[in-house]
Point group: C2
Chain length 299, copies 2
């Protein structure tokens, strides 16, 4: 698949059956705007779970007509989250989306041992960027969920992102393991993790991708910078996925690409069996719409 | 001072007496090109220390006329570094620059307890960025020297950067302490450090600047993003200096701004009493030239 712009996600999603997207605690004007736009574009069929009066009022603020959308009235936020999760667990919905509820409570419903969605693995965040300075879509992971992942968790984070690429039709994505340097330094854990992840891919402990690291960011995305350092690698200069050392580095990179790099983003949380859309108020309308498209294209 | 473009550094440097810049192990074509350009622009008076034959040969490769530059022939790299450092220690030069020698050996001469340049404090890296997406120059520190600074070292890193701003005529730079989130989380050391640094500034343990944190990158540089989070602060949306949590985050931000953000940079190492210019092969010619201008403007 050619994956040069995030709009390609819309086309991909439209090739599939329309996915059912269930919104937990849907009484949020901005979320309703994004969901309605995605519905009108034919990407998803929304199910709005939450306080019916609140939902109607939120829609009215923007003059949104939601009369044709399914609404399940459950005023209590925790019960609404539980219901939305159950609907997904029972395969009666395909995508889960957070509304006007704290991330903590929303995730609690997903992570619940008895009634949640996690069988194995871990939740991680994948953010896709369309940058004016890169020749293809770049995926940064994990910029939002895991604070300081150990090697086991990093393996899970890579597997989660690679699965998304496979769903997008890209069989062997190139994974760059980021660090501050491109050499191994026992005092820098990210470089040690990188060596281990490369070995694990060689020994087929991680499959479905090509991995190289440690790489400084410039080596991972600029062929010229890689040449300067004498790095010969299938990944250097052409990475699809960037695994960041930790949440600090990931979040700062994510924000830099958007606020100091002119990038557009689409993001979701993966690892729960179905895509989970968690937009924040600071996201642009376009980014919220594209995040729903990403979820629909990869479910 | 208005500090909107890095070219302002050239004007500032030209207002001062021409500074003597001593290059350790100068037989490097790219370093000679940058030094010669800075010399011709009237920014510095270079002193080239190294293997005279090598220096002449490196200059000849680019057809550079260095006949009017002072050359001190010391073929041994370690002796050349020691000589260059001594020249600075004896106030017979104002700026130190690394040539064709490993960073390790070069720093060893600076850090040497008997004959080096360090009295107190620590060496740290300051990188100034001119970004098409920000309304003023942004300084990122420390993206190159300290791997995982503790609170004491972070204080030193801030003091080093603040001193540079004072030299540039900016009396009270705004320092944003970056983390992945804008709230304090005891599991995230960067947010704990941020609270401490804010308190230290309030109690005048750190002076000459305004500090706020923890701030996610978007809160620090976008007023709109700060508003979304309800952050009221003298720094949010208008930071001059960004203190990064550690080297991983700093280096990734540094590289993102250049390679995925269209920024131009000027950088140097501070804390040694005089500015230290350490360009790398991957730096653009413009960035090397501006780094010398930065050193000359702030010495």
């Amino acid at each position: 698949m050619i994956f040069k712009t995030l709009n390609d996600l819309v086309g991909l999603a439209l090739q599939k059956d329309r996915r059912k997207l269930v919104v937990a605690v849907a009484q949020d004007e901005e979320v309703l705007l994004a969901v309605k736009a995605a519905s009108e574009a034919g990407l998803v069929a929304p199910i709005l779970v939450g306080d019916q009066l609140g939902i109607t009022a939120a829609a009215a603020k923007s003059g949104l007509d939601i009369s044709r959308l399914e609404i399940i009235s459950i005023p209590d936020p925790w019960q609404a989250c539980k219901y939305a999760v159950r609907r997904v667990a029972e395969k009666k919905a395909d995508i889960l989306m957070k509304g006007l509820v704290s991330t903590g409570l929303f995730l609690k419903a997903i992570l619940d041992k008895e009634n949640g969605l996690m069988n194995e693995g871990l939740l991680s965040h994948v953010a896709f960027f369309e940058s004016p300075y890169y020749h293809k879509i770049l995926c940064v992971t994990d910029a939002a969920m895991n604070i300081s992942p150990d090697i086991q968790e990093k393996t899970g984070i890579i597997n989660n992102a690679v699965k998304v690429y496979h769903r997008l039709g890209i069989a062997l994505p190139k994974v760059g393991i980021l660090a501050a340097v491109e050499t191994v330094n026992p005092k820098m854990e990210a470089t040690v993790h990188a060596s281990m992840l490369v070995a694990m891919q060689k020994r087929k402990q991680i499959e479905g991708c090509v991995i190289d690291g440690p790489l400084a960011l410039d080596n991972a995305i600029s062929m010229e910078a890689a040449h300067h350092k004498g790095i010969v690698s299938d990944v250097a200069g052409d990475a699809d996925i960037l695994l960041v050392p930790d949440l600090n580095a990931g979040n700062i990179l994510y924000k830099a690409l958007i606020f100091l790099g002119g990038s557009v983003t689409a993001a979701m949380v993966v690892g729960a069996g179905v895509p989970v859309v968690l937009t924040s108020r600071a996201d642009s309308d376009k980014s919220k719409f594209l995040s729903i498209a990403l979820a629909a294209a990869t479910e």
